[in-house]
Symmetry: C2
DNA sequence: GTAGGTACACTGGTCTGACCAGTAGCCTGC
DNA sequence: GCAGGCTACTGGTCAGACCAGTGTACCTAC
């Protein structure tokens, strides 16, 4: 006979539990309102501070939102990837995750997204990619900031076509963290115009592959582009971690 | 000239911000302690309830843990995937992410892990995989629980060989969420013994490919195994989302 | 000297009650 | 009909209190 370890259950935890249960079970739908804190404290039979700590936890999980002064009470939010984004961001910034690992992960995600996009794209998707590429082309002359925005937009379209929120969020997070890590180095990049032209050519090539429904080809191009752009910032000793992903 | 929208900044948010900053910047390392709540409230110049709400948020994000009575104060925790798991699980339960997307993501991660493992494995890694496979073989006769444990161990070795913590953690999280989603269906699985034998054969094949340093081959085997095992639980209309990943 | 017990200072968890700034909706007065 | 203010609420914050529990330092008994 074995016993389980017991942990004291805090009052606020049981409040969280009940409200969360109501939300995931569908008894409380997005847009609906919770009773006010003072009302909740009588319903749960606890003090207001306990209610407030519970609401804080739920708010941190992006399940509810409360605004002072609103007589309708805290609002139940629809499930959103924001919380996923936050927790993944924290994990990716944590120790033990270096630029090499981040880049490796990003090559995997980006490559897969491109593969899926090439196989699943519809005709509207293609026109969307065309306009995104067009605004990148305009961005070259309009300056780095505009170009960068258009670049991000292009990748977002790709991610959207792959139709997998997990892929989208992970990619966003990893891209953000990579940029955070090397932004100081990017500041000093010489000759940005030629850089932008190179990227533009890369993207045009990728788009051709997607148009041709060539999944493997577009995936390889995407990974190769990442490697070409960022491998310089990775310590030479760790680059062998990346090259296996480039084999066709 | 354009102005940005302003949002009132809550006192507890600024407390969270400062502590979080201290943790991610490395000024506070895992295992170290925060000052007590009463000490924090003088340092931040806020009331105790404000400090407590801030600590609750950090605790919900698995960054700190506090136990009553401990004179050393709240403990800073190492980055853990628990929060990631929770938020992904919530998304999955909220139907924004279905089994198809989870499985797609898992095929991507698992495939890449196998590819990297095949390319990066050392001789010790191979013997580690041999022993893991051996205990799976023993597990077949010892019952499903043992077999399942050995299966998990095998995948953990693979993940470790790929040497990317992000990959490992993401894979674990997705695997856990997938299993939670279909555990009720797994309960009723008939003929478990033949199932275990099939899995064992799959793993032996994968190990051969890894031994041969055949990255593409082992990746394909891994993805195919996932598809064979789980595609039945995915609505037929969504299976085309998975098949592009199986092309060689 | 050491093993064991005990007292104490302090921790976090909770409650109460209070005040403030802000909001929504009603309700005037025009 | 509508602009403006009034009011009854909201959440955010603070202060102070009590409790059960913990870790440590001390103190005792051997």
């Amino acid at each position: 006979m074995r016993f389980e370890t017991v942990a004291p259950v805090r009052a606020y935890e049981r409040v969280v539990e009940q409200i969360e249960q109501a939300v995931v079970s569908g008894a409380l739908k997005p847009g609906e309102r919770l009773p006010s804190e003072r009302e909740l404290m009588t319903q749960f039979g606890v003090g207001r501070s306990t209610v407030r700590e519970a609401l804080r936890v739920l708010q941190a999980a992006e399940m509810i939102r409360s605004r002072p002064g609103d007589p309708r009470g805290p609002e139940v939010l629809a499930a959103s990837p924001v919380a996923l984004h936050r927790s993944m961001h924290r994990l990716a910034r944590a120790d033990h995750v270096g630029l090499a690992e981040l880049l490796q992960f990003r090559m995997i995600l980006d490559g897969s997204a491109h593969l899926l996009a090439a196989e699943l794209r519809t005709d509207e998707d293609l026109t969307g990619l065309d306009t995104a590429l067009e605004s990148m082309r305009e961005g070259v002359s309009r300056g780095y900031a505009d170009f960068s925005r258009a670049d991000v937009a292009f990748h977002e379209v790709i991610a959207r076509i792959s139709r997998n929120p997990l892929l989208v969020v992970s990619e966003e997070v990893v891209r953000g963290v990579v940029l955070e890590l090397i932004e100081d180095k990017l500041e000093h990049a010489s000759n940005r115009t030629s850089l932008m032209r190179t990227w533009l050519a890369h993207h045009a090539e990728v788009l051709d592959a997607i148009r041709a429904a060539d999944g493997a080809g577009s995936a390889h191009l995407a990974k190769q582009a990442l490697y070409d752009n960022y491998a310089d910032y990775v310590p030479a000793g760790q680059r062998p971690l990346l090259t296996p992903l480039l084999r066709p």
